[in-house]
Every structure is written in structure tokens, then in C-alpha cells.
Subunit: 268 residues, 3 copies
């Protein structure tokens, strides 16, 4: 166990103790999935998108997740307004730019939120992260056609410019604040056979940020936990159906100590 | 087996025989979950929110569920209109005030439907039920911060004023029509680690109301069934993922006789 | 193994190799379900409904599914626009007329898309298919009250007039292009105890159409695969919860050879 794994386990313990409320403005496909991920982790999800209740929801939540899948115009207004409330209140914001690069609507929305809403962390696959730069990225549907490695420089440069944490997830995960960068290994190929795994990683990042000020450490810890849980779940699964059942079971049961002894986080 | 358990099993048998169509105007998070709960139970779900089809849907359904999670203004119009159709046709209406107390939008909407749409039954956690009274309730996200016991007087008083059944669910469930009150025990702590368990309880209440005129008895029976099924499912689960799989399996397989011998319903 | 079973397995192999992107404009209830079905099958789902991104999504996808459950007016605009893009680009379109016959909104929408958007294939239960004809059909909620056999003439006549493939699914599936007709047997009664099985069949048809020009063969192959997978899944399930987990596992693991030896497709 290195210092990062040690710290990651401690943060997990704090989530279980304090049960932070995480506000999600997210896509229709994964609402149920990510609510269950947060519950299994030990956090308290709230899913709400009506602009009329953004003030109230912001007042009771400890972190905000903005996920741009199944986007439409009215939702974008709620997203940017909720992001402003989070910024004013000093609460962490995670941006998940689902499908950015695939359509102009998504790329424009993701770039605008990335630029003007000052997300604490942005988590996407390599193509999505590349799409946030001037160079752009290619996607295939909502799948990445780029490797994590291809997006490293883009992530570093975006993080350096804007002072947020950039996380590129894939076979290996790369996380950077522009100065310090880390790699996370583990996980399972099965993660690409279930919808909403990226979205799930993002809500876990939000829960870790809700209880840990060091945004790089929080982000890395969340992603390392997902890799550990997915690896354990995969080893006893027959396919994507049983895999996801096992992910929720493992996420609920894994102790901080087990997590610390299995997390694989290394300086890049 | 007491008289309530006996009656509860009989009502379950009638649901299986008549397969009532239950119309749901509900939140995005649980649509899939509650549709599957109704199917596993032996009822026929229909999920529809467009005001243009409310007349037709009302004509073919035997009960209506209004669930105010992930609310927005246009949906409220459909809810109140569908509720009016149900009232005119004498069909049971269940109100699930998800997150009432957490935001003004939700509290106002829940109070308005509770007051003007004459729901046959209202099912919520303690904080949600308290939020419907002048005293108000506190919530934490969509979780209750109150115990069932704290909401007993509020539930009795609301039920007494308005002639509907109030159900407060939690570790124990309390159900009252203002005159007669009942407690249901059983269940599993795992019910709080899966999203949509409260919403699932509400759609089960609607299915029981669709085949049983005694609203107190129907409500108590539905909640008792959920507690029995959750307890059985929990005993063979490793976590929230397998728990929910087992809930659906048990709900589908439990016989009226098994249910009668396990239901724990007692006068309060 | 007859010639149809042989061809069906070959098409499955091509889906796994080419991983076609399938664009879905679908209902809220099954978005997660059908995305997971496509992933388990080996295809790449994209769920998007905003009219602003229809051009971009159309450009990157190989087939389109239009599913009219949980309909509302703004979605219909996106559906008809996306259908037009598919037609211009020569990409296959599958129409799933969920609940057509149950409400005027749904029947009108389904009939309009069936008539003016030239779907490559239409898949529905018997009542839904009957509702597309002048004679009309009856439904009970979103369930069929007609048998597959009752809808055979309607399906043949619709297919003959309009040059598309009509698929009536139920205990047995009937598929016709107006000239050649086929029956598929197998499956499991458990398919009616889980929401979204019809919707899942429709997205599988789209994935098969994405890699096979013969629309009758593609449609029959997809439906035969679902029947085989459901039958295998059912044999090791305790109820609808474990059934669906097993469906996803089997769909992911079944080889083209296994499928060929189990598919039951016969000329009608």
C-alpha cells in the first residue's frame, strides 16, 4: 500500500460516516444506475433538473454532478445555473462530458461548462477529453476511439490552464491537476459492456470530492475504488448482467482496509 | 395469521387473477424499477405523461400513481389533470410525495395534489409526510431525517381531515385512515441501499387498491407484502445488487398462502 | 440447422466484428435496458433525442430505432426528422409502436411514422400491429390482447403495401415482407414479466439490419436470437430479476455456432 492507497481508503471511510448528499443533473439512461452506485457507495443521491428547485437542492447537497448525455436545451439552463450556485457556495462540481466530440450540441455544451463553470474535476474517456481542446477528438457513438495515452497532453494542458483536475478513464486511468499526474490500473474489460460505467465513475468522484478538499487525491481515490470493485466483481461474473449486480454488491461491502490493500495508484 | 394477514393474501390472489392496469406518472429514476415491480407482482404497468393521452390512458387503467420525483412544470399539469380524471371515474389515486420538504417546488406540488386531488392513499417517509402539514418536515436529500414515530400524529391528523389513507414507511410502517391505525414490521435495512424502494411500495399500494375497495386494508396489505418480500430477499443477498434481483424474483413467486403466514400487521 | 439458422449465426458474427452504432430515440422506461441489450449483443448504443443533434448523430450511426413509448410532442418532431435523415442516407429504421392502439396520440404517431417514414422494419405485439391497419387493434395497457395468429393477415397486408418487414412478436413470432413469411418459436413466458422485452427485440433487429441488407433475414435472425437467449436464461432463473441478469449474460456469451444450432426459424 502506497500513500495514495492509504489516503484513498481513509476518504472512503469518511463517505460512509458522513453520507454526503450528491446532486445529479444527468442523462435519462443512467439516472437509476448512478443513484444506485451512490447508495451502494454510502452516499445519498438526489436527481433533480427543474430550474425552479435548483436553489433548494443546492442548499442541501455537498457536491454537484453535471452529465450531458441525452441533452436538451432546457436542461442546459439548469446545468449552468446549478453550476453557478455550486461555485458561489464553494461546492465541488464534476463535469461528465458524455459524447462530447460526437455532436456539436454536446461539444459546445461541454466546452462552455468546462470553461465558464469552473468544474472541480472533469472525467471523460480519451475522445471526450480531447474534444475539449482546440485539436478536438473523435468519438464513435459515445465510445472513445482514442487511447488514454493519446489524451494525456490534452488533459495536462487543460488542467494547467484552468486549475481543475482532469481524469481520462479507459483501460488505465490518467488523472492530473496540471502539475502532478497519476495512473490507476486494474478494472475489467467488462466495464465496456455495461452502459453508464463512465457516468458511475463520475458520481463516485463527486462523492469523494464532497468529503476531501484535495481534488486530485479525491478523484484518483474514487477511480481507484471503481477499478478495484470492477476487478473483484468481474472475477465472479458470467457476463455483463451478473457483473453489474456484483459491482453494486462489492461497492457496498468493500471495507476501507480491503480497498487500501488493492488500490493501484502510481505517479505518472 | 391474523385477520389482516388473511385478507392481505386474498387481495394478492385477486391481483394475480385480474392483472389490473396501473397508470404511472412518475420520475425518470424509477420508471423501469416500478414497471418491473408491477409486472413481478402480477399487475400491468403503463407509464405515460403526455397530457394529450391522459384521457385514453385513464380509460384503460384501474388505478393511478402520481410520483413527484424529478418534477417539472409540464409534468405537474399532466398529474393534476390525470388525478381529476381518476376522481371523476372513481378510480384510486396514490400520491408519492418524493422529496417533499426538500424543495419548495416539491412541497407545494405535493401539498396541492394532497389537498385538491383527493388521493385515496399517500405514501411517504416520515419527513415527506410531515412536510404536508403546517409544521413541515425536514429531509436530507430524499432521505427522511425523521422516524416513523415522529410522523404518526401528522399522518392521523391529515387522514382525519381529508378522508384518505396516510402511510408512513420506514423501519416500521404506520398506516392510518384517521380512525383505525396499523403497524407493519419486517423488511430489511437493505431497502435503504437501493433507489426506488419507496416508489416501489407506492405502486404496489396502487395495485392493491385497484382490486380492493377498503383503502386502509389495501394499503396495509401492499406494504406488508413488500416487507415480507424484502426480508426474504435480503436473507439470500450479498449486497444491494443481488438484493434487488431477489426482490423481483420473490415478488413474482410468493404465493398468497406464504404471504399470509409471514405478514406482520398489528393494530397500532 | 436450416438455411435461416445458418445465416442468422453469420449475421451475429458480423455484429460482433463491426460493432455498429445504433441510434435510439426511445422511451424513458427502457433506455437503460435497451442500451445494455445492445452492448451485451456487441453493438454500440447511442441514445439521443434533441433535434439540434440529430444531424450529427445520424452521421455516426448505422441504424435508427424509433420507439414511441412515453411519447410527447417535442420528441415526435425529433423522431420524424431523424427518420427522414435515415431515409436520405439509406440507413435502416426500426419502428417500435409501443402502446399503439391504446391511445390516439400513440396510434396517430405510429401510423404516421409507418406511412411516411418508410421504416425498414416494424416490430410490435399483435395488438400494436393490428392498430396500424384500418381495422384497428385492441390493447390492454401496453399488453397485447390479440394473439400473433390474429395479426398475420394485417402484417402481410401492411408489408405488401409498403415494402417493409412486419414482425409480430408473442408466444411465436411471425415475420413477413408481404411475400415470404416465417415463424420463430422458442422463448420463455418469463419475457412477459419483465418490462422492455419488446423494446429489446426491436433494438436487436436494428443491430442486425445494420450489418445485413436482406431485411427479412435480418429481422428474423434478431428475433430468433432473442428467443434462444431467453429460453437459455429462463432455464437457470428463479424469477424475472434473475431472468434478466441471465439474458444479458447469455446475450454476451452466446457464440454464432451455439445460436445456429438452437435457432428455430421455419417458413410460415
Amino acid at each position: 500500500m502506497n500513500e495514495f492507497a492509504k489516503a484513498a481508503g481513509d476518504i472512503l471511510g469518511r463517505i460512509r460516516e458522513s453520507r454526503p448528499v450528491i446532486h445529479n443533473i444527468t442523462n435519462f439512461v443512467v439516472m437509476n444506475t448512478t443513484a444506485n452506485v451512490l447508495l451502494a457507495l454510502g452516499a445519498a443521491p438526489i436527481m433533480a433538473h427543474a430550474i425552479e428547485e435548483m436553489d433548494d437542492i443546492s442548499g442541501i447537497s455537498s457536491a454537484l454532478v453535471i452529465n450531458i448525455g441525452t441533452l436538451s436545451k432546457t436542461w442546459v439552463e439548469s446545468m449552468t445555473y446549478a453550476a453557478r450556485l455550486a461555485r458561489i457556495a464553494g461546492k465541488p462540481l464534476v463535469l461528465d462530458p458524455v459524447g462530447s466530440g460526437a455532436t456539436k450540441l454536446r461539444t459546445d455544451t461541454a466546452c462552455e461548462i468546462a470553461r465558464f463553470s469552473a468544474p472541480t474535476a472533469i472525467r471523460g474517456n480519451a475522445s471526450e477529453i480531447l474534444s475539449l481542446t482546440a485539436a478536438g477528438g473523435r468519438t464513435r457513438g459515445v465510445d472513445s476511439v482514442n487511447t488514454t495515452e493519446e489524451a494525456i497532453e490534452a488533459a495536462k494542458s487543460l488542467a494547467g490552464e484552468r486549475g481543475n483536475v482532469l481524469a481520462v478513464t479507459g483501460k488505465n486511468d490518467f488523472v492530473t491537476n496540471g502539475t502532478l499526474s497519476l495512473f490507476i490500473s486494474g478494472g475489467s474489460p467488462m466495464m465496456t459492456s455495461v452502459t453508464g460505467t463512465g457516468c458511475s465513475a463520475s458520481v463516485m468522484v463527486a462523492a469523494f470530492l464532497a468529503v476531501e478538499k484535495d481534488a486530485l487525491l479525491a478523484t484518483v481515490s474514487a477511480l481507484a475504488l471503481f477499478k478495484v470493485v470492477a476487478e473483484q466483481a468481474s472475477s465472479k461474473s458470467q457476463g455483463p448482467g451478473s457483473f453489474w449486480v456484483n459491482v453494486l454488491d462489492r461497492l457496498h461491502n468493500i471495507t476501507p482496509e480491503e480497498f487500501q490493500s488493492s488500490a493501484r495508484i502510481e505517479p505518472a
